[in-house]
């Protein structure tokens, strides 16, 4: 590895100021990515400084990984090289917020909780209810395409992000999209940055459309003894005129995590729990309460309950934080994030549960009914295994996902670094489109300065 001596970072000090260049051991350790440590941490103040840092790295053949609070650095492969941790925490300003236009422009280091508070003052919000919400930054949320239960009604980042500014691999400052809610001017390059794990560019500004807070809200839970009946209920909702804000299905293992607080104790024990939230005028929420109750009854629910106002935020937060709750309970868990067609969800879950049984691991699933499954495999209590799944089990899981009847797209979002080092492929079997992704990478970052080796297809 072409690792420069500590003394050679004077250029970085010139760019960002001495106080914002750190080589102290303990801090360096905190910026480790999948077991790989950087040589230096730099905290730039703005896009111009980032451009200079990236140009410096390009010239010196150093590798840069951009980061916010670092909550999702565990996602992706270990970097093939990693010299500079580009800490964006100083770039935490709201650059433009026009509540009357329902548009917003922010720096990447803005923390989602702070932003949601600012928006709430104007009775608005962003539908980004994402894991690590107490620390997660906009840059990290966008770069890892964090999943939110609210996507059921509002779509994902790609659907409400209006444009971005960023610094590409050779230090060029570029942008795409804009700040207006409808725009087809030029290529939508910013869409490529969503979920790119910092491999294409360093995001320096993100523009969003914001959403008005609905006047009233309700949350409901229905419990079922089998996944077939639970998803039958989801299907009935999807085929009705109802358009809830979220429809989440917690399998038995997940239910233990989500409903384990004192407040929600009365909801346990449950086998398969479907949690629904609805919003709108009070008359609309009343109607959801009535009709969801009917649909749940027709779908053979064991129970259908409105969730009391005092419990709603706790349960919502636990659904939002699901991957984090799993990792806190089982740091060695392997968590797959799987995009799947709604009709194929029960068959996919059955397949996954058989794999878990055969391999003696526990499985917890949380499913967004619109077609995203979080499947967490973790070691059974008392098990001696170092890791809940090995490479061949991972392969088996990808195989089940790609079966024609499931036609699902999986990514192994979280797993222990040791598994990654033995060559487990987090993105599953080879797809032809990886070739195009490599070409896109070459266009943005021809010298592989940004997060090299972290992404799909060897990018």
């Amino acid at each position: 590895m072409n690792r420069p001596a500590q003394g050679s970072f004077t250029r970085l000090e010139e760019i960002a100021g001495g106080a914002h260049v750190v080589t102290d051991g303990a801090e360096i350790a905190s910026r480790e990515v999948c077991g790989v440590r950087p040589a230096v941490i730099v905290r730039p103040a703005d896009a111009a400084q980032i451009a200079e840092i990236v140009r410096f790295a390009d010239a010196e053949k150093l590798a840069v990984i951009p980061m916010g609070s670092g909550t999702k650095l565990g996602i992706g492969l270990p970097p093939s090289r990693y010299d500079i941790a580009l800490d964006l925490s100083r770039m935490n300003r709201v650059l433009a917020y026009d509540p009357h236009d329902l548009t917003l422009g922010v720096e990447p280091g803005v923390q989602i909780e702070d932003l949601l508070r600012t928006l709430a003052e104007q009775k608005q919000f962003l539908p980004l209810a994402v894991p690590f919400s107490d620390r997660a930054t906009i840059g990290g949320i966008v770069a890892s395409n964090s999943s939110s239960p609210l996507r059921h009604a509002y779509g994902a980042v790609r659907d409400f992000c209006l444009g971005m500014e960023f610094v590409a691999g050779e230090g060029s400052q570029a942008k795409s999209g804009g700040r207006v809610v409808k725009n087809v001017t030029g290529y939508d390059l910013h869409k490529l940055l969503i979920g790119s794990l910092g491999t294409l560019a360093v995001i320096t500004r993100v523009n969003f459309r914001t959403f008005p807070k609905p006047p009233a809200q309700g949350m409901f839970v229905a419990s079922f003894s089998t996944p077939e009946t639970a998803f039958g209920f989801c299907r009935a909702i999807a085929h009705s005129v109802l358009a809830p804000q979220m429809v989440e299905v917690a399998g038995p293992g997940a239910g233990r995590l989500i409903f384990s607080t004192e407040a929600s104790a009365r909801i346990t024990p449950m086998q398969w729990a479907v949690v629904i939230s609805a919003a709108g005028q009070p008359s609309v929420v009343d109607r959801y309460a009535r009709e969801l109750g009917h649909l749940a009854g027709a779908a053979n629910a064991a129970e259908f309950l409105p969730i009391h106002e005092t419990e709603q935020s706790t349960i919502f937060a636990r659904i939002r934080e699901f991957p984090r709750l799993v990792l806190e309970a089982a740091p060695d868990a392997a968590i797959f994030r799987i995009g799947v067609l709604p009709a194929a969800i029960p068959s996919l879950l059955n397949g996954l549960s058989e794999v878990a049984k055969r391999n003696g691991t526990d499985l917890a699933t949380l499913t967004r009914a619109s077609g995203i499954v979080y499947a967490a495999f973790f070691a059974q209590a008392g098990s001696e295994a170092a890791s809940p799944v090995n490479a061949s089990v991972v392969k088996e899981i990808f195989r089940i996902c790609t079966l024609p009847e499931n036609s699902a797209h999986a990514m192994l979002e979280w797993c222990p670094s040791e598994m990654k080092r033995v060559g487990v492929d987090l993105w599953g079997p080879w797809r032809d489109e990886f070739v195009l992704m490599r070409r896109v990478k070459d266009a943005f970052d021809p010298h592989k300065v940004l997060a090299p080796g972290r992404f799909a297809g060897g990018i």
């Binding site: 994902a156 207006v180 725009n183 939508d188 008005p212 299907r235 008359s283 609309v284 109607r287 067609l341």
Partner: protein
């Protein structure tokens, strides 16, 4: 002896699938814009393999290729600017699969937008993007241009409704990107491809989301005596966070032309109307309609009418969707623009357009998607008057500059094409454009696919293109 290109294309596709006679080619020289360009030949592939064969042949003979759907585009995207082969997708017009359980359809690019909604109507479903040309425009064209329509205010543009594509790359390779599920891992290539205006690949299959038809719809017509009251109403609706499914504005001039043509019952003596639609559960629709009526009345709407039945509703929408056609009755030609502004800047922008109209002594009609700030000023002209046409282009450029100055964009749904590519530097820096250029080269290295579109060619930086004298007096609808 027929030229080698034509002979080889005929061998590949059969003689009936290749047009090369000048009188046939004339039909493919134009689209819905004021641009022109003559292809060497026009071909009609029946499959992705046909398309791949055409592309490989074009490479060997170093000939440009331009994809084309119904030719309704409004920025010259489907025009063979540098000659070459125009690939028309009208034979690839099958709906391959309707998957109602998963709210998806798989279609070939030549499927007409409205035909898809009609085909799934009995299932209570529809395809959300609804450009005014939806009776004739194709979904392949919608994908290229990332088309919108009135209801994109609530449901988003084409890119929000596409999950997967099959592409033929400029080297003839066939690749699938994305998929049928709501998300796939890796870079969002579909997000890049939709709206790339045929400059990165030819699309041969599209997987789209279908939506469930709402339980209730209410269509309101608010009638105003001043433009300012109309635009202030739109601002207030946005400010109050009311979210209609569509919010369209027609000014009095346009309205009179439309009314004479469609007889939808629009009042001919007003300054402007808003056509607003709310959709959803009936409780929500009632509440929103009441709130909108209140806003309009507070802003001195002289009348707020609610369509009483589907027939009245359809008539109002027919008036909106056929407005461009109605213009043909009062002017030989028009030039439609597509700028976007932040919604709160509507009042000043409409006043600015009035000033520009006076300054250049031109008639400008306004009919547009007010709810998302997407303007469509229609500048009327007579193509035989060259001097007038120069004023039209200058006025268009001035409107566009205003949009950029207030923080807007050059195009909301029509695309950049060959009409606005030299205006790109108004929005984008050389560094922005260089990166876009590199992304284009990553897919289309020889620049053989739809050359001269989207990105500036650097000949007249910052200037709107002065098109050749439009040859035809036909008004595209």
């Amino acid at each position: 002896m027929r030229p080698q290109l034509i002979r080889e294309l005929e061998t590949l596709l059969g003689p009936k699938a290749v047009l090369s006679a000048p009188e046939d080619l004339m039909l493919y020289e134009y689209d819905g814009s004021v641009e022109l360009g003559s292809p060497r030949c026009v071909v009609f592939p029946a499959s992705a393999q046909d398309v791949a064969g055409i592309v490989r042949l074009a490479n060997r003979l170093e000939t440009p290729i331009v994809g084309r759907g119904a030719g309704t585009g409004l920025s010259g995207g489907a025009i063979a600017r540098s000659g070459g082969i125009v690939v028309v997708f009208s034979r690839m017009n099958r709906i391959l699969q309707v998957d109602a359980a998963n709210l998806r359809a798989v279609v070939q690019p030549g499927v007409v937008n409205l035909d898809l909604s009609r085909a799934v109507d009995h299932l209570g479903l529809y395809f959300a993007p609804d450009p005014s040309s939806q009776k004739s425009c194709t979904i392949g064209g919608n994908v290229s241009e990332n088309s919108g329509g009135p209801h994109t205010l609530a449901y988003g543009v084409t890119s929000n409704h596409v999950t997967g594509l099959e592409l033929v790359l400029p080297d003839g390779e066939i690749v699938r990107i994305g998929g049928k599920s709501i998300e796939t891992s890796g870079y969002d290539l579909c997000g890049l491809l939709v709206g790339s205006e045929g400059t990165l690949a030819l699309v041969t299959e599209i997987t789209v989301r279908l939506m469930r038809k709402p339980e209730a719809v209410k269509t309101l017509l608010a009638v105003y005596d001043t433009l300012d009251d109309t635009t202030e109403s739109v601002v207030e609706i946005t400010v109050r966070a009311i979210t209609p499914a569509a919010c369209e504005m027609l000014d009095g001039f346009t309205l009179r032309a439309v009314e004479d043509y469609v007889h939808a019952g629009f009042p001919k003596d007003c300054a402007a109307v808003l056509l607003i639609e709310v959709e959803g559960l009936k409780e929500a629709v009632e509440a929103q309609a009441a709130e909108i009526t209140e806003v309009c009345r507070e802003h001195r709407a002289r009348e707020v009418r609610v369509a009483r039945n589907d027939q009245e509703r359809n008539l109002l929408w027919r008036g909106r969707k056929e407005a461009f056609g109605a213009m043909g009755r009062i002017s030989p030609m028009y030039y439609v623009q597509d700028g976007v502004i932040p919604r709160t800047r509507l009042p000043e922008t409409l006043r600015r357009i009035e000033e520009i109209s006076r300054k250049y002594d031109l008639q400008i009609g306004n009919i547009f998607h007010a709810g998302d700030g997407n303007l469509h000023p229609l500048i009327l002209f007579d193509e035989r008057d060259r001097e007038q046409f120069a004023r039209v282009v200058a006025a268009g450029g001035e409107i566009m500059r205003h949009c950029v100055e207030v923080g807007g964009a050059l195009t909301g749904e029509h695309g950049i094409g060959m009409e606005k590519n030299e205006l790109m530097p108004l929005i984008f820096t050389p560094e922005d454009l260089a990166l876009m250029e590199r992304v284009r080269a990553a897919f289309n290295p020889a620049g053989r696919l739809n050359p001269g579109k989207v990105l500036p060619m650097g000949k007249a930086c910052g200037e709107i293109r002065v098109p050749p004298m439009p040859a035809s007096a036909t008004i595209p609808t």
